[in-house]
């Protein structure tokens, strides 16, 4: 009975601009992950596996890819008489309508949706994290504590706490102090952006002060001050893959033994029929005689003639004879032609790397990208969706090649570390 009384809202509207090239054509939750998944599959599957059946997905930024991916929600068993997943984009016409100005504002603009799906609690999630969690247990905790709000929290290294909402709890787990993205660490307990609200309480908070637009900045601190807010402790694998480096590391975690992430064992479901070229049309991966593959994830439909080491390949990737792919992530249908070399690269869908080209050249991994020094500074080179890399080109590290770049767009087949080709519009 309880499960039917919880309404799930997934926040999937953020730009996630630190993912740079990867979010040029899609929202962050729709970024491919782990070969066949998209980031939001983790949240959606956790919801499904926790037994919840009513979901709203709040979208705003470049939602088409995400909408197509979610479809009817059938992939996560959200179709049926008492089941459903609804896309909730911003809309005009209602009293409070406008673009979503923040997380709390987005939820406020969907109060009609909340009221149309009567619930005892609202489970509010972010659609851009990699983790497994039993939300049913969290709801039990919330009820046991007679909380107004419960926040999923985990211990992180003190050096990272500045990226999170930080909470200080008392002996019974109640949060007594809150700092949003503190510059000086006083605790190592970080908010995972997972909230359980009593529905009535949430509606009250949202309407009481209409100026508050963000949960972490406004609504949560006020709730902690006034009412019962508890921390639900989480132990296990959880990553906010909001930066290129974190995104790359989390993908690499899947192929590392004992890293604690295992999508299939976690019951994470992809949507295999979201597009014409998705998994449903792929035969098994083919490994030619003479190929060499180590410590990698290879999806159906790949054809490997060359070498693949420590890499994650989405469906339909072709690695030609004599080519070498190392420490890289390749999205659907990339072609790495004969003799090409990839080292520390992330290739978006349909990238074509010409014969003998090198991506990730040189020892210097620390000279950051000139245009986006805060996005690329660890040596990873990004190649945008559908871009072409000319034969025998030599591309350095921390480089960015914009989506749909053509061979003739390269001023010089040598691209130095930190340089970019094409316009990145974020």
């Amino acid at each position: 009975m309880r499960k039917e009384n919880t309404l799930v809202l997934i926040l999937a509207g953020g730009v996630g601009s630190r993912l740079n090239n990867l979010v040029q054509t899609r929202a962050k939750p729709a970024v491919p992950f782990g070969g066949i998944y998209r980031i939001i599959d983790f949240s959606l599957s956790n919801v499904m596996n926790s037994g919840f059946t009513q979901v709203g997905v709040l979208t705003q930024y470049k939602p088409l890819s995400l909408m197509k991916h979610i479809g009817t929600g059938e992939a996560w068993d959200f179709t049926g008489r008492s089941r459903g997943v609804k896309i909730l984009p911003p809309r005009t016409g209602a009293k409070d309508s406008d673009w979503y100005k923040g997380t709390a504002d987005a939820v406020r603009q969907n109060i009609d949706f909340i009221k149309a799906h009567p619930s005892k609690e609202i489970l509010l999630l972010s659609g851009d994290h990699i983790y497994r969690m039993d939300f049913d247990d969290m709801i039990s905790f919330h009820r046991r504590k007679l909380a107004d709000v419960t926040i999923g929290m985990m211990v992180v290294p003190e050096s990272e706490i500045h990226q999170f909402g930080a909470g200080i709890t008392n002996d019974e787990g109640r949060i007594v102090e809150w700092e949003e993205k503190p510059k000086v660490p006083r605790t190592n307990l970080a908010s995972m952006g997972i909230y359980v609200f009593d529905t009535e309480y949430l509606l009250h908070m949202l309407t009481e002060n209409r100026e508050e637009i963000d949960f972490g900045m406004h609504l949560i601190p006020r709730a902690i001050e006034q009412d019962n807010v508890f921390a639900y402790p989480f132990h296990g694998y959880w990553r906010d893959v909001g930066t290129v480096q974190a995104y790359w590391e989390s993908n690499m975690d899947i192929i590392r033994e004992d890293s604690g992430i295992a999508p299939e064992d976690w019951g994470i479901r992809p949507n295999v029929e979201a597009g014409v070229a998705d998994i449903a049309d792929r035969p098994p991966a083919r490994f030619a005689a003479g190929s060499k593959v180590k410590n990698s994830m290879i999806a159906a439909g790949c054809v490997i003639e060359g070498e693949v080491i420590n890499s994650v390949l989405s469906p339909g990737v072709r690695v030609g004879a004599g080519a070498r792919v190392c420490d890289s992530i390749l999205f659907h249908d990339c072609l790495v032609d004969k003799g090409a070399v990839l080292d520390l690269a992330i290739l978006d869908k349909g990238v074509r790397v010409g014969v003998g080209a090198i991506i990730g050249h040189g020892e210097d991994k620390t000279t950051p990208n000139k245009d986006f020094p805060k996005h690329l500074y660890t040596g990873i080179t990004l190649v945008g969706k559908g871009a072409e890399v000319p034969a025998n080109a030599v591309i350095g590290r921390n480089c960015i090649i914009a989506p749909l770049t053509r061979v003739e767009d390269f001023p010089d087949p040598q691209l130095k570390t930190g340089e970019s080709v094409g316009v990145i519009d974020l």
């Binding site: 782990g34 070969g35 066949i36 992939a75 899947i254 192929i255 295992a262 999508p263 299939e264 019951g267 994470i268 479901r269 992809p270 295999v272 029929e273 998994i279 449903a280 049309d281 792929r282 035969p283 098994p284 991966a285 083919r286 490994f287 030619a288 005689a289 003479g290 190929s291 060499k292 593959v293 180590k294 410590n295 990698s296 994830m297 290879i298 999806a299 159906a300 439909g301 693949v308 994650v312 390949l313």
Partner: protein, 419 residues
Amino acid sequence: MKCKPKTLAMILAGGRVDELNVLTCYRPKSAVPFGGFARIIDFSLSNLMQAGLERVAILSQYRSYSLINHIGIGAAWDMIGKYRGVSILPPSTGYGNTSWYKGSADAVFQNMDFIQYHDPQEVLILSGDHVYHMDYQEVIDYHRQKDADLTIACLQVPMEKAHRFGLADIDNEDGELGGRVLQYKEKPDRPKFNWASLTVFCFKPKVLLEVLTINAREDESFEFGRNIIPRMMYEQRKVYGFKFKGYWGYSRTIEEYWQTNMDLLGPSPKIDMEKWGLRTNLDHRGIRDCQPLKVGSDAVIQDSLVYNGCIVEGTVERSILFPGAHVKKGAVVRDSVLFFDNVVGRDARLEKVISDVNVTIGNEVRIGALGPAGNKEVTVLGWNNFIPDKTVIGSDCTIYPSLSADKLLREIKAGEIVR
């Protein structure tokens, strides 16, 4: 304007016909796994989808659970919609002469009401047991062009192998495309012509009804090849042969089935599933939930096909792995086909093995003999078996499904059958 489909397709998927050894103990041949993720019937279904023939009936009788499960609602082949659909037609009791299907022709005859209800311009009858890629629309176009009563798709086979097939003598009325069938012989001892029937029949519905009615009344056997085509030749009906030139995987024995699997491999495989547009039902056995193949740091994979959901830590050569296969460290799998959810233990060695679903092979097990695959016979492991550590099984052995492990606690010599 495309409205109601003019062609009704019927797939004969009911038979076991004692082929493929223990692989068909619990499923019809059409539901036997093939190609690392699919089933044999997927080739016919995908061909139909590509030809735009999406009003389909499947005639099934033998152990049909696996097949029914596999077809589902037909969505995998786009067969749901106003004029699209797949109907499974099992034998049924009721008014009139209903009974178990006594043969392929009888199966169709018992469903004449289904055909009449759909009122098609032609009925395309196919076998679900073969691996091939054919544009059925070409056959139908030829059939219409000749205004034939029956058009049979045929493939020229070597004369020395021809005695195993239904054979047509096709004239050169339309050269390379096809011609009139002058003679037809079902599996003759001494073949004089060699166009083998592929069990792809395009019928005029009215003629089909007439011939099946007479067959039901007068004959004692009810097969298309043995009875219907000879009767139509005798009655001098307009029977045409469509000359097919592509690949055709025909596997009656386990050795032929193994060879058809090997045709998926090599530098330019004879069976190109991607090009052929092969689709399967990913809901069956839940393979849609599989994560990509995980390749370990000591793994070697050569000339092989491996689907999502596998883990390879050992060596895999010239083999095909279905979802859920786990080849552990030090294990070697050569010239083999492992169906769903097989586990190959550490340092085990498999040489020319076909292993049905849910087989766990213990550590250091040896199955099959060393040496080139051409010089030895296949060993077949039936489903749901557990092969204890260090067991030795020779080549050309058959292990029946679901054996208790104590039956395998000894050396099993080449050629043995363990029940």
